[in-house]
């Protein structure tokens, strides 16, 4: 069964939403993290990466945050 690009993007967004929900309890903290320039992303804000559909970059930055990387 083939997966369309649109379906794959939707799946990526769902997976990332789950990760964000598991990382942050409050919407405020999640929003702050998404909108703040992130050194790991070379100064990009995660939300800008999401707008460019760079899901892997955001997932990696989230993993760095969750594993306790100092930035």
């Amino acid at each position: 069964m083939s997966v369309t690009i649109q379906e794959r993007q939707t799946n990526e967004e769902i997976a990332l939403d789950r990760e964000l929900a598991a990382t942050f309890i409050s919407d405020d903290a999640s929003e702050l993290w998404l909108k703040t320039a992130n050194p790991i992303l070379n100064g990009d804000a995660p939300i800008d990466c999401l707008n460019r559909r760079e899901y892997d970059r955001v997932r990696a930055a989230l993993e760095a945050f969750n594993t306790g990387v100092y930035v």
Binding site: A22, T23, F24, I25, S26, D28, A29, L32, W33, T36, N38, P39, I40, L41, N42, R57, A60, A61, E63, A64, F65, N66, T67, G68, V69, Y70, V71
Partner: protein
Amino acid sequence: MWRCHHRSRAALNADGSLAGIGGRFNAGVDSDVKPPFRALYASIESAAALLEVVRHLGYRSPDRRAVVALDDIAMRVLTQIDIDLQRVFDLRKEPVLRENLSHASYRQTQQVAGAAFNRGAEGVLVPSATGIDANLVLFVDNLDDSSRIDLLRQIDDLNPVIASVAQGAS
């Protein structure tokens, strides 16, 4: 030494450090500093380990009057680890780090750390961006066979630590 990490992640998991351009003292896969190398970030003081994370959850210094997102800290744990290493480089007096860490660029801090990594350091002692004591950044891929990192205990309820940090800041 103390580590602060999400409760769903293993305390000694350093894989996340390779993300993007990497952490403050290690080069990630997208960094200009080569080669990329993994690092495990720890702090001498538990408060520093906590604040290194908290400051990305909405924390601001008391004079800026922002609020710590306490609910989100509840997703974190503090793990105390006992470390016995053979080659730790003390970079706290390194000129680029000594003045003010916030003025040092990522390229600078990663270059300093990369030079230590390439010389075989198992870890580096560096100033903490929180201003509390120092951090130890462990280069897990350089660990000697005789070196060891042991888990001592994990603190799941961070409220007492937060209270003590808040008391110290007031």
